[in-house]
């Protein structure tokens, strides 16, 4: 197991270097000189331009800039935002819990609904349930997130008044960040109603963010189940007269879980991408919106540092998924 873990960790090195280079290059490939964009219609003199170039270090050759960045990263220094002048690292960790909280709730929701939906669809293959579930999944998968979010807000917050429109908690609850997770902090604050307010604010954004992964997980579960259900040992189990619940729930599902867990792991990347739109529309103060704003402002340190940290996070999640395979299927562990 330890060797397995180590070999996985070794693959991190080239991936990490690649991501560092790509994130550095990505923002610089976009057209738009950050200094001219910053000055806008007002313009600036050539001397002033040169002065600012020197201040931001853009007057040095690109490879020197990259080398400085890379050595900084290796020492844990991601630089400071051009705009807020705060260290990228600090900004990331003040915003990341919000994204993580939303993503965890969304992935739980997607898994809790997606796996049963897939199993049911497989059991009733070609029947009404199957068709209804799979066409809903297709609709969910193709849903434009922005439109879907606005629709939910207008119906549930605007017309019905059941959920708040946006934000993480009612503005009138005011307590310090302890963990950065609103569900936990609201409980710790001891203020009456704070936890309920935090939960109600999570409902719509987590539904929106869960929609696409839910559809993917349901479809993947269904096809994995169908494959497993046609295996000999399932026929044997059935022939032995085992109860269908036992056959489907224990023998089939456990074996169908491997591809499903892969998909769940991969949807973490998808969730973080979806978080950009979801956070923007629900004014959710997470890293998605932070990165998006930084791209528009050509805030190089934030874009490259943020991409690197997000990529690092996705890599760690995928490592955990790899280790989970081992738990589900001991054959993999022994390899």
């Amino acid at each position: 197991m330890l060797r397995y873990l180590l070999s996985k960790l070794l693959t991190f090195v080239p991936t990490f270097l690649g991501v560092t280079l790509v994130s550095f290059a990505f923002i610089r490939v976009l057209p738009g000189d950050p200094i001219i964009v910053m000055a806008g219609e007002r313009g600036l003199t050539e001397e002033r331009y040169a002065e600012l170039q020197a201040q931001f270090g853009f007057d040095r050759p690109l490879y020197v800039q990259f080398w400085d960045y890379l050595t900084g990263v290796l020492q844990g220094d991601l630089g400071e935002s051009f705009v807020t002048k705060k260290p990228v690292w600090d900004e990331f960790f003040s915003l990341f819990p919000a994204t993580l909280e939303l993503s965890i709730v969304a992935i739980i929701l997607a898994t809790a609904l997606g796996i049963p939906a897939g199993v049911i669809a497989a059991m009733y293959r070609g029947k009404f349930f199957d068709r209804a579930l799979m066409s809903s999944a297709l609709v969910g998968y193709s849903m434009p997130i922005f439109w879907w979010a606005l629709l939910l807000i207008i119906v549930f917050s605007g017309n019905l008044g059941w959920t708040p429109v946006s934000g993480r908690i009612d503005l009138l609850y005011f307590f310090p960040d302890v963990t950065g997770f609103m569900l936990i902090d609201s409980l710790l604050s001891g203020q009456k109603g704070a936890f309920a307010s935090a939960v109600s604010h999570l409902v719509l954004p987590s539904i929106v963010l869960a929609t696409i992964p839910l559809a993917v997980i349901a479809r993947q579960t269904r096809s994995a189940m169908l494959e497993v259900l046609s295996e000999d040992y399932i026929r044997t189990a059935r022939a032995k007269g085992l109860a269908p619940v036992r056959v489907n729930g224990l023998h089939a599902l456990r074996n169908a879980m491997i591809p499903v867990v892969t998909v769940i792991g991969l949807s973490v990347g998808m969730l973080l991408a979806g978080a950009i739109l979801t956070e923007t529309i629900f004014s959710w103060p997470g890293i998605g919106k932070w990165m998006l704003d930084s791209i528009f402002r050509r805030d190089y340190p934030v874009v490259q540092g943020g991409l690197l940290l997000v990529a690092g996070f996705v890599m760690v999640v995928n490592l955990i998924v790899d280790l989970l395979y081992g738990l589900i299927n001991p054959k993999i562990r022994k390899r």
Partner: protein
């Protein structure tokens, strides 16, 4: 949650926190996070709304709702005969904020004024580079060239010496970058080795004190009980609920989650105006969108040709299609909310037949030209491509063949400045300090040729008038000169003036005393909430 229960919850939470009950809290759904809390480092209105307006004051200030300059932290000021020295008499007894991170030991005085400017002006000042910023607006308004020295005369008197007489200098001091910081606080931060906190935990003399900020979520302020303007501010707490999407802001306003929202989606305005739970205020923006001919290239060097083209342009169609009602036809290069706006001038009539005849009379036939369309959205031009297409169509009707070109924004700004540029450029301007000089000299003065003067227009009679106005300190005389300058502009037509945006502010009916500000800021000092 309905607003009533929302407000009940406010007092509940606040009383639980040990504060007095029956406090009023104004919630503003702002459009974005401030970049920081030191307004001198930034240039965006979003940052100024969250910093300079609630937290700080300036020596002089704009009277809310106008571009007129009134006393602020300076009770009075006088200019020397030659216009080179300005002496400010400071208001005594003004207190800086007391917060959990700073307690002032003295009142506001001349040291604070000198500090607030020297940190932006003097490269040897320890604060010049301490916050990692570049004093963009101070530089943008040419303050380093203009100021020769800043001196403390006594505790309540400060003297600015200029390198040349320049009347708009006073208006510059009312701008956000000129906000007055506490030197005592800055010194304490520097001693503690944390100068960057000046940009995170601000201390000012303004109507509200800073309480807390959570990036992309919320900013909280409390009433400054010691504010030097008697009876202000009127609400006890001010909260900015940061909400970037304009449709979501509207939903929050309807749900009672906020009282005031800026920048509505133009498509929602008709519905808002019909809704009894929403009041919509409106005002022209302090901006202008224009088409600048290159007046140094034939045949556009002939004013007759430029005026003929202006007459061929159907501006009303542009307002209807491009602005969808949130715009107004511009006849002058300065907006109507600015002092000295010459309303006696009448706009070119839309008359394609007369335009065609004028072109022929000028000996111009088979004219083909380029029109440059900006790649970005601006309040003064929400869709430049569409606008260019409409103009292409209009000019086509008088036999002028138009090709539309565009570039990436940075490239566009750079190339359009070139004196040799081929074609007419769509662009615009948003005012900085409410002074006509900030439009007429920047955009149409001889110094701007090859730069911000996209018409490459240097016309001596116009230049003489605006230079005269720049060095005259008498407001009445300046008004007269700028009115004359607008007449010369109209007759020479270096631009087709197209539109001023119209700004809408939706708010809940219980919001009282809100005044729209032509310079674009959102100011809540005098706002109260009806029971």
């Amino acid at each position: 949650m309905a607003l009533r229960s929302f407000l009940t919850a406010t007092s509940l939470v606040l009383s639980m926190a040990g504060a007095a009950s029956a406090q009023s809290t104004l919630v503003y759904c702002s459009e974005g996070s401030p970049e920081g809390f030191d307004p001198s480092l930034y240039t965006s209105g979003t940052t100024f709304d969250a910093t300079s307006h609630p937290i700080f004051n300036r020596l002089v200030e704009f009277k809310v709702g106008t571009t007129e300059v009134i006393p602020g932290l300076a009770e009075s000021w006088e200019a020397s005969e030659d216009g080179l020295e300005y002496t400010f008499h400071l208001r005594p007894g003004v207190k800086f904020h007391t917060t959990d991170y700073f307690t002032p030991s003295r009142d506001f005085n001349a040291d604070d004024v000198v500090f607030s400017f020297m940190r932006q002006y003097d490269e040897n000042d320890p604060w010049y580079a301490a916050e990692g910023g570049s004093w963009e607006y101070f530089n943008g308004m040419s303050m380093p060239d203009l100021i020769s020295s800043i001196e403390k005369v006594d505790d309540l008197t400060v003297k600015f010496v200029l390198t040349r007489p320049e009347a708009p200098f006073i208006a510059n001091l009312a701008m956000d970058f000129a906000s007055i910081q506490s030197k005592e606080y800055a010194d304490a931060l520097m001693d503690a080795g944390t100068p960057e906190m000046l940009n995170q935990e601000p201390i000012g003399t303004g109507p509200f004190t800073f309480v807390a900020y959570q990036k992309d979520a919320v900013i909280r302020y409390a009433k400054n009980a010691e504010y030097w303007k008697e009876g202000l501010p009127k609400v006890d707490n001010l909260v900015f609920a940061i909400t970037t999407d304009n449709s979501v802001r509207y939903q929050k306003l309807l749900a009672g989650e906020c009282h005031v929202m800026p920048y509505p989606n133009p498509a929602d305005i008709a519905e808002m105006q019909a809704n009894p739970d929403v009041n919509v205020m409106e005002q022209e923006g302090l901006n202008v969108g224009y088409l600048a001919y290159n007046t140094q290239m034939a045949p556009f060097d002939n004013p007759e040709v430029r005026r003929a083209l202006n007459m061929a342009m159907d501006k009303q169609a542009i307002i209807d299609v491009v602005f969808q009602g949130s715009g107004q036809i511009a006849k002058n290069p300065i907006p109507p909310t600015m002092w000295s706006y010459n309303d006696a001038i009448s706009d070119d009539a839309y008359d394609p037949d007369a335009a065609k005849a004028m072109l022929e009379a000028a000996g111009v036939t088979d004219l083909s030209m380029k029109i440059w369309a900006m790649p970005v959205q601006r309040p003064y031009n929400p869709n430049a491509r569409r606008m260019a297409e409409l103009i292409q169509d209009d000019f086509g009707k008088i036999g002028v063949d138009v090709e539309i070109v565009s570039y990436e924004w940075g490239e566009y700004l750079e190339r359009s400045s070139d004196v040799e540029r081929d074609g007419a450029v769509l662009l615009g301007w948003t005012g900085d300090n409410g002074d006509p000089d900030n439009f007429l000299a920047v955009l149409l003065g001889c110094d701007g040729v090859g730069g911000s003067n996209r018409a490459q227009w240097c016309y001596q009679p116009f230049e003489d008038v605006i230079q005269q106005a720049k060095v005259t300190s008498d407001p009445a005389e300046r008004t007269r000169l700028y009115e004359e300058a607008q007449m010369i502009f109209k007759e020479q037509a270096p631009w087709a003036t197209i539109a001023h945006s119209v700004v809408f502010m939706p708010m809940r009916p219980e919001v009282e005393g809100y005044v729209m500000h032509p310079l674009g800021g959102h100011i809540f000092t005098e706002v109260s909430l009806a029971e």
